[in-house]
């Protein structure tokens, strides 16, 4: 792993010992700590999911009673949303890659960055401590009045999410200033890699939306502690008001989850097609289009909540708009492959998987946005399948693609392509087998958050459960071989993918200060003509 120009010094051996990692200001080390934490929480959330699917092997009680089931689906959702998908790509990949892609030595506020990581972990600890008491059974969406009246440990759980939210805000803040102030010489806005555009748009959403979640959760806590009455009809409040507050954040939140993922895909496809991205400007702008529209569609989660016909009209028509920039991206990515010279390494396989899954997820989003259709499918497994296709099929596939892509840069070693191919096919097949049947069973009427189900839904549920085992196998195998190859993989060169973004102009693994010589940028990062 030695590199002649740095004398074998890199950010990993720069300082040794656990304390040097826990007190590091180095964005690369912080990124790795996020990666390690997020993947641990992912396995935890996946464990809860596996339990849920085993319970669904039969329509009656299989391995747990209803109260346990209700807790497990709450944990699954909350862990996956707050501790995995929201922090994952910005916190893990963004932290490691963004400063290097900008030609910077670090993020704008390294101490704030480290603090953000600890705030995130503190939030996780607080939320998970609820499991030591009566747990939480409100669903990750905490709808009132159930969440304010159930006698489980909702307060701790919600407090954890509240705290973790600040990590999201501060990371977004850090990235915004970094992109504004720390770009290398020659790196103009029109030469920014699309991953940066995506993370930048995400950061703006994080900064604007997450504070609203903070106040919502705080109101929820005070409702439980002091019965402030804001969400309690008996005290003059409004039960549906909570949903407005909640979704005002949580809808933009799903774009916090998917925009960075789209940014990763926008990097992978050009590199592995040896061609520039098709429609650079459109893709960059569409990230902002999506971020903007994200703030005015929250009511599409509430079409049957009792809100007015007029509200439903507005939210439905505006939601339709979001599909336009999204479609532009999908068509542009596929267009990038046209007349390329495609390499089938693992990152590209995950990009293919993303395209298959995100296309289905996106198309089924149109079903949900269509008012009449949503009346029947909302709160059924159709919606569950839709959001898993975009969140897992989208965000997680992009995360896996990005991890494999930047693996050599982070570790100085290559992962095993053979191992990765096996894992990819297990994940692809397993995922589709798990979630596609849920579209069918949902449109047949099976509601979500159901511990038990009627006999006619049995066969498809069993199919879905078997799929979840295949998916789990693929993901666990990924964790195993990545852990192995991190320490024992073949040494990788500085730029094994022949990519053009700035991080590849540095050794693998990079030195502490990121670059031996800070690059000066003279062109955009998709110049594949030479």
């Amino acid at each position: 792993m030695g590199h002649s120009a740095t004398g074998g010094h890199n950010y990993i051996n720069h300082e040794k010992g656990l304390w040097s990692w826990l007190s590091t200001l180095d964005h690369k080390r912080i990124g790795l700590m996020y990666l390690f934490s997020v993947l641990t929480f992912f396995l935890m959330g996946g464990f809860f999911a596996t339990l849920l699917r085993i319970e669904h092997l039969t329509g009656g009680q299989t391995i747990m009673d209803a109260n346990t089931y209700n807790r497990v689906f709450t944990y699954h959702g909350a862990v996956m949303v707050f501790l995995v998908i929201i922090p994952a790509i910005p916190g893990a990949l963004g932290n490691f890659v963004l400063p290097m892609m900008l030609g910077a030595k670090d993020v704008a506020f390294p101490r704030l960055n480290l603090a953000s990581y600890y705030i995130f972990m503190a939030g996780a600890a607080i939320a998970l401590s609820a499991l030591l008491f009566r747990g939480a059974d409100s669903g990750w969406t905490f709808y009132t009045p159930y969440s304010t009246s159930t006698n489980t440990t909702v307060i701790l759980f919600v407090l954890g999410a509240f705290v973790a939210g600040f990590a999201s805000i501060l990371t977004g803040l850090n990235f915004i200033i970094t992109v504004h102030k720390l770009r290398a010489e020659g790196l103009t806005w029109s030469r920014l890699p699309l991953f940066i555009w995506a993370v930048y748009a995400t950061s703006i959403v994080q900064v604007l939306a997450t504070p609203v979640l903070a106040i919502t959760l705080l109101l929820l806590i005070f409702e439980r502690v002091a019965q402030i009455g804001i969400f309690d009809p008996a005290l003059g409040g409004d039960a549906v008001l909570f949903q407005h507050f909640f979704w005002f954040y949580s809808h933009p939140a799903v774009y916090i989850m998917i925009l960075p993922a789209m940014g990763v895909i926008s990097e992978l496809i050009p590199v592995f097609s040896r061609k520039p991205i098709f429609g650079y400007k459109a893709i960059a702008l569409s990230s902002f289009g999506i971020a903007l529209v994200a703030f005015v569609v929250w009511g599409h989660h509430m079409f049957v909540s009792g809100q007015s016909e007029f509200a439903n009209f507005l939210f439905s028509i505006i939601t339709m708009l979001v599909a336009v920039p999204t479609g532009v991206k999908v068509f542009s990515w596929i267009g990038t492959m046209y007349k390329g010279a495609i390499r089938f390494n693992a990152p590209m396989l995950y990009a293919f998987g993303f395209l298959e899954m995100f296309t289905i997820g996106g198309l089924t989003g149109v079903f949900c946005a269509t008012l009449a259709v949503d009346v029947h499918i909302t709160d059924t497994y159709f919606v569950v399948a839709h959001f898993h296709y975009v969140m897992v099929g989208g965000a997680i596939m992009a995360l896996l693609g990005g991890i494999h892509y930047w693996f050599p840069k982070m570790t100085g070693r290559m992962y095993s392509e053979a191992s990765a191919k096996i894992a990819f096919w297990l994940v692809l097949v397993g995922f589709n087998l798990t979630f596609f049947p849920q579209f069918i069973v949902g449109s047949q009427g099976m509601p979500r958050r159901y511990w038990s189900y009627l006999p006619e839904f049995t066969r498809l549920n069993q199919m879905s459960t078997v799929g979840s085992w295949v998916l789990a196998l693929g993901l666990v195998w990924t964790a195993v071989y990545l852990w192995r190859d991190m320490r024992k993989g073949k040494p990788a060169g500085d730029n094994p993918w022949e990519a053009q973004t700035l991080e590849w102009q540095s050794p693998s693994p990079p030195p502490h200060d990121n670059f031996i010589k800070v690059p000066v940028v003279t062109d955009w990062p998709y110049e594949y003509r030479s």
């Binding site: 159930t150 008996a234 097609s273 708009l321 010279a341 008012l371 449109s443 511990w451 189900y453």
Partner: protein, 249 residues
């Protein structure tokens, strides 16, 4: 396709694709929109993912083959922005029109009050009578349900009718339907409400005029069958009865 769907879905709904039976006129309009969206999605899926697979195989990197330097194509980009936009607006309009049909009750609808509470459904009729977990309605007459909850959020969902609305404490919400198929139609609570959320089941029992008059007069009426007879047969054939809690059949 039909065979695959039959296999996948216990063939309970085979004659209607995989959807629940059409027990109202509105369900038919709904199903038309649904199938349009399904086929449109299949088309775009084949276009995108098929295109992706085709490009991946056709443009597989081979030694000596150079990729072509293309950065974009404005006419194509305009087309694939404008065409989806137009399609989506058309879908919105169609969805809105059907939605209005689904949710605006006719003025002469027969009103029944519904109270959802953890974990049962109570129905109150205009003559003061109440039933629990069984909603009796006449076929071929519009019925409007005015609903509220006395505790947490619930949601009243009848898949056969394509009808759903949340049931909210502190306010009234409503749904309406005109049942065209007599028999028992499944009702689910579909807004999470705690321990027995998945057991908060009910039935809409749509009665022929004769049975409806008899029931209203307080007389005994014959046992009503499942509105979807194929479903009962298939379940009897296919699935062992649940040994624990579940069914209200």
């Amino acid at each position: 396709m039909g065979f695959i769907l039959k296999f996948l879905t216990n063939s309970a709904y085979a004659f209607n694709g995989h959807l629940p039976i059409q027990a109202t006129e509105v369900a038919k309009s709904w199903d038309d929109l649904w199938w349009f969206l399904v086929w449109l999605s299949v088309f775009f899926f084949i276009l995108c993912v098929g295109g992706m697979i085709y490009f991946a195989l056709k443009y597989k990197g081979k030694p000596g083959v150079k990729p072509t330097y293309i950065t974009g194509n404005v006419p194509i980009e305009i087309v694939w922005t404008a065409v989806p936009f137009v399609l989506l607006m058309a879908i919105f309009v169609w969805g809105w029109v059907v939605y209005v049909d689904m949710t605006r009750p006719p003025t002469d609808a027969y009103e029944i009050r519904v109270v959802g509470k953890q974990w049962l459904w109570q129905f109150q009729y205009d003559d003061g009578r109440t039933t629990v977990n069984e909603l009796y309605v006449p076929v071929n007459k519009p019925v409007k349900l005015t609903m509220t909850s006395t505790d947490v959020l619930h949601s009243f969902f009848v898949p056969n009718f394509r009808v759903k609305s949340d049931v909210v404490p502190g306010m009234f919400t409503n749904v309406w339907f005109e049942a065209t198929v007599p028999g028992k139609h499944q009702v689910f609570c579909t807004e999470y409400c705690g321990t027995s959320h998945s057991l908060m089941l009910a039935k809409v029992i749509a009665l022929n005029p004769q049975d409806w008059e008899a029931w209203k007069a307080g007389k005994k009426i014959p046992d009503q069958p499942n509105a979807d007879p194929v479903q009962d047969q298939q379940i009897a054939k296919d699935v062992k009865p649940a040994t624990s809690v579940v069914s209200t059949r």
